[in-house]
């Protein structure tokens, strides 16, 4: 016990040295925490936008659909699955989708598009498409002929809200059908895949065009309250839907392109995380090494007075432990508050760099929201504390390895 008190006191006998060492650790953690939470926030946002726009974190669809997407491969009893899914606490909302291929034409030409039937009320709350309307308004459930189109399509077919277009596609029986629709609004998101090739219609309209039954859809997607609970939801749904011809898929399988991109980008991010943790541990090493080595004279005096080397080493280690705890606590506190601030209010890159990110009218969201999770605090704090202790071992053993007489004589 005495040795702990001794360590604590000797820490504050040279207050400046302690403050410098603690602040090294704290600053390092603060910066690393900010960096990692910012990167995590960017990924979470990208995935979240994509899954909200498409078929959720977890998608239920016909087993055959993934191999040969076609509107006759439907999920038969949508409402049953919907109520089943809503009973799972982690599921925030359930998206019912009808996804098909179609060709749209106007007097200015024609292009192939992905036609998506959605529940407009739900979609307005969830999807980035409803947030990024540049002209007109979003579709409503009772829009018998309403259609949302991407800005790329609008440009190429010279369409404006209120104008007509003709959709041509094969329905679920293989029949070629035509349908006249009227543009209600134009959206633009950052991804060309969306603004250049997507159109959205109310579910009822999609069922009419593709001749799909009222309780049928091609996809049922689950939007989760937290992406971390994805596997849990998949397991539950798989158990409940076992035996049927339905597949329960994670978004990584529904959108392999996005998953691939995230993986590569995450890889580069790990490199940066590695570099910053290297810098951080290096700074800790320097300050701790220096602060212990500068105290040779003090240690020599103690040893000369008869302190046992083992006790002295213990004391130095305990001091390091205190420094590590203080530094980690302080760093997590400061870094956590900064990250929390940007988690809540976001960091607006547009205004920061004065680049006219929005002037073109393209709604690439230039605001980054940090993501903070308990696990990040735990592993970063734990890692840095461990590093500090490891680094502290060397000077602790070094602290008693010198010729007492030489050290005491020199200055």
């Amino acid at each position: 016990m005495v040795i702990i008190r001794l360590a604590w006191r000797s820490l504050w006998r040279n207050r400046r040295r302690t403050i410098i060492t603690v602040s090294s650790i704290a600053l390092g953690i603060t910066l690393a925490l900010f960096l990692i939470s910012m990167a995590e926030g960017m990924y979470k946002k990208l995935i979240d936008d994509a899954v909200r726009m498409n078929a959720g974190y977890v998608t239920v669809e016909n087993k055959e659909y993934a191999r040969a997407p076609s509107v006759d491969l439907v999920v038969p009893s949508v409402s049953a699955i919907e109520s089943l899914a809503l009973n799972i606490p982690a599921v925030k909302s359930v998206k019912v989708l009808i996804v098909g291929q179609a060709m749209i034409s106007t007097g200015s030409g024609s292009i192939g598009v992905g036609l998506i039937g959605v529940d407009p009320a739900l979609e307005r709350a969830l999807s980035p498409i409803a947030r990024t309307i540049t002209q007109g308004r979003y579709i409503q459930e009772d829009d018998e002929r309403g259609v949302m189109i991407g800005s790329g399509i609008a440009e190429r077919l010279e369409l404006e809200p209120g104008m007509k277009l003709v959709v041509t596609c094969n329905d679920s029986t293989g029949e070629l059908v035509n349908e006249m629709l009227r543009v209600t609004g134009i959206f633009t998101t950052g991804m060309e895949e969306a603004y250049g090739y997507l159109i959205q219609v109310p579910l009822g309209v999609a069922r009419r065009i593709f001749s799909i039954g009222p309780d049928e859809a091609t996809q049922v997607g689950m939007v989760l309250s937290s992406p971390d609970r994805q596997n849990e939801v998949i397991a539950l749904l798989k158990k409940d839907l076992a035996g049927g011809n339905l597949a329960v898929l994670p978004w990584q399988e529904v959108m392999p392109d996005l998953a691939g991109f995230m993986a590569v980008d995450k890889g580069s991010n790990y490199v940066f995380q590695g570099i910053i943790i290297f810098l951080l541990s290096f700074t800790i090493l320097n300050t701790i090494l220096m602060s212990v080595l500068e105290r040779n004279r003090e240690f020599a005096t103690l040893l000369a007075l008869g302190t046992s080397p083992v006790l002295l080493r213990c004391q130095v280690l305990i001091e390091t432990m205190f420094i590590g705890l203080l530094g980690c606590g302080l760093g997590l506190g400061i870094g956590g508050s900064i990250s929390w601030y940007f988690h809540t209010y976001g960091l607006d890159l547009g205004s920061l760099f004065g680049e006219n990110l929005t002037i073109t009218g393209f709604a690439v969201d230039p605001v980054i929201y940090n993501y903070i999770g308990v696990d990040l605090f735990a592993w970063l704090g734990g890692l840095v504390f461990l590093l500090t202790m490891l680094i502290g071992l060397y000077p602790a053993f070094k602290s008693t390895r010198f010729s007492i007489v030489d050290v005491l004589r020199s200055r």
Binding site: R13, R16, R17, I20, T21, S23, S24, L27, G28, L31, A32, F34, L35, M38, M42, M103, G109, S110, I111, G112, R156, G190, M191, E192, E193, G196, Y197, D257, G260, F261, V264, D265, G267, S268, Y270, V271, F272, I275, I276, L279, L280, F282, T283, N286, T287, L289, M290, L293, E294, L347, L349, L352, F353, E355, L357, T360, F362, V364, D365, P366
Partner: protein, 405 residues
């Protein structure tokens, strides 16, 4: 000169302390140089992935073409533009565009035909290297066609498949020709994947009855000049045509890259802060530990200014030593990553989003600025960190300084 010699001796009087400081400073400098090069490499690679496939850095069109996409709005005086580009060492590819229908059996699709000169296409971009199957156009009119990946799937076409092209030619007649598939492209962007059929320019000319006319000239200096510089050089000979950089043509992609460079800049600032503060702390500690020594110097009559001068000289020597060491290490490692890119394919395959091909190979890009900035910052930090405690010591009463812990 004397000051420098004293500084040099002083540094080696406590070689361990000096060693730690030099290692700290040079490693931080090296890490910053490497990080800067890696980040720059990533940003430049992303831009190149846009410009170096088909888009090019700058495109020239008839002033109405992008609005109307009419077959008749061709580039005026394209020979002059090609000539200017050749003189300035900029690769230029003339292209003719026309819409039509491609069919095979009972499958058909509306497509945009690109009439290209395969040789100049290979100078401006790497499209020929992005083939999934088959080969690129040979360079002679041979009724071959290269298809986008998704278009090939729609048409159920494979290499060798015969396709019928039906178009409305410029003289109003119906153009009708038989093509066979030579190659299928990898995923290189949504538009190309879905709706583009690439044919030789002479095949295009006879299909559309449009000899020696082009709708677009794509220009690319392959990293020699910036897009704006290329545009400036070309404008003089462009006449009434419209000259636009890729950022003006693809504002969405440009915004996306800007956002991502913005985030990268913030990362960089964090790295500079982390390294700078690390060095600051190490140096502060090193100088603070010497306050009793400064007190001794003062007690035997050294003036405050002299102490400051000596400490600054030491910081300067430390700075020089560490920037040489750090600069060399940083340069070597960065150059290594420039020639042997980091392989991220363990995490996933390369991928394209909105036409930006994210490669799984991540190379660094070392620039002079990327070496100088980290060094300058380290110097500033080291002088600051040394002067502050020294100034404090110089003002301190010698007796207090001597017993200072």
């Amino acid at each position: 000169m004397n000051t420098m010699r004293i500084a040099w001796r002083n540094l080696w009087r406590n070689s361990r302390r000096t060693g730690i400081t030099i290692v700290a400073m040079s490693l931080s400098t090296a890490v910053l140089i490497i990080t800067y090069a890696l980040m720059l490499g990533m940003m430049v690679q992303m831009e190149h992935s846009v410009t170096d496939v088909t888009v090019g850095q700058v495109q020239v069109h008839h002033r109405n073409y992008l609005k109307e996409r009419s077959l008749y709005d061709t580039v005026d005086g394209w020979e002059n533009i090609l000539e200017t580009a050749r003189r300035d060492g900029i690769a230029a590819a003339p292209r003719a565009f026309g819409f039509g229908l491609l069919s095979s059996g009972n499958k058909s699709a509306g497509v945009q035909f690109w009439g290209v000169d395969p040789a100049s296409e290979q100078q401006i971009g790497d499209m020929a290297k992005n083939l999934l199957k088959g080969t690129y156009l040979s360079g002679r009119p041979s009724m071959g066609v290269v298809l986008g990946r998704k278009l090939a799937r729609t048409l159920h076409a494979d290499v060798g498949t015969e396709l019928v092209a039906v178009v409305q030619a410029s003289d109003g007649s119906l153009g009708n020709e038989l093509f066979h598939v030579r190659g299928i492209l990898k995923s290189v962007g949504e538009n190309l994947d879905r709706s583009v059929a690439i044919i030789d320019r002479e095949d295009f000319a006879s299909l559309f009855v449009l000899p020696d006319q082009y709708h677009e000239i794509a220009l690319n200096s392959r990293g020699q000049l910036s897009p704006d510089e290329v545009a400036a050089k070309i404008r003089s000979s462009a006449g009434s045509n419209e000259v636009r950089t890729w950022r003006q043509i693809l504002p969405g992609v440009s915004d996306m890259l800007n956002t991502s460079s913005g985030a990268t800049m913030i990362f960089l600032v964090i790295f500079f802060l982390a390294a700078g503060l690390g060095v600051l702390n190490t140096l502060l500690m090193a100088t603070y530990e010497r306050i009793p020594e400064f007190g001794l110097l003062k007690a035997i009559g050294t003036s405050s200014w002299r102490i400051l001068r000596d400490v600054s000289a030491e910081a300067l020597v430390l700075g020089i030593l560490s920037s040489i060491l750090g600069g060399i290490i940083g340069t070597i490692v960065s150059l290594y990553f420039q020639y042997f890119p980091i392989d991220l394919s363990a995490f996933g395959e390369g991928f394209n989003t909105s036409g930006v091909v994210i490669s799984a190979q991540w190379g660094a890009l070392l620039t002079l600025r990327g070496i100088i900035w980290p060094i300058v910052i380290m110097w500033l930090v080291s002088v600051l960190a040394a002067l502050y405690p020294a100034a404090k010591a110089a003002r301190l009463d010698p007796v207090r300084a001597l017993t200072h812990v």
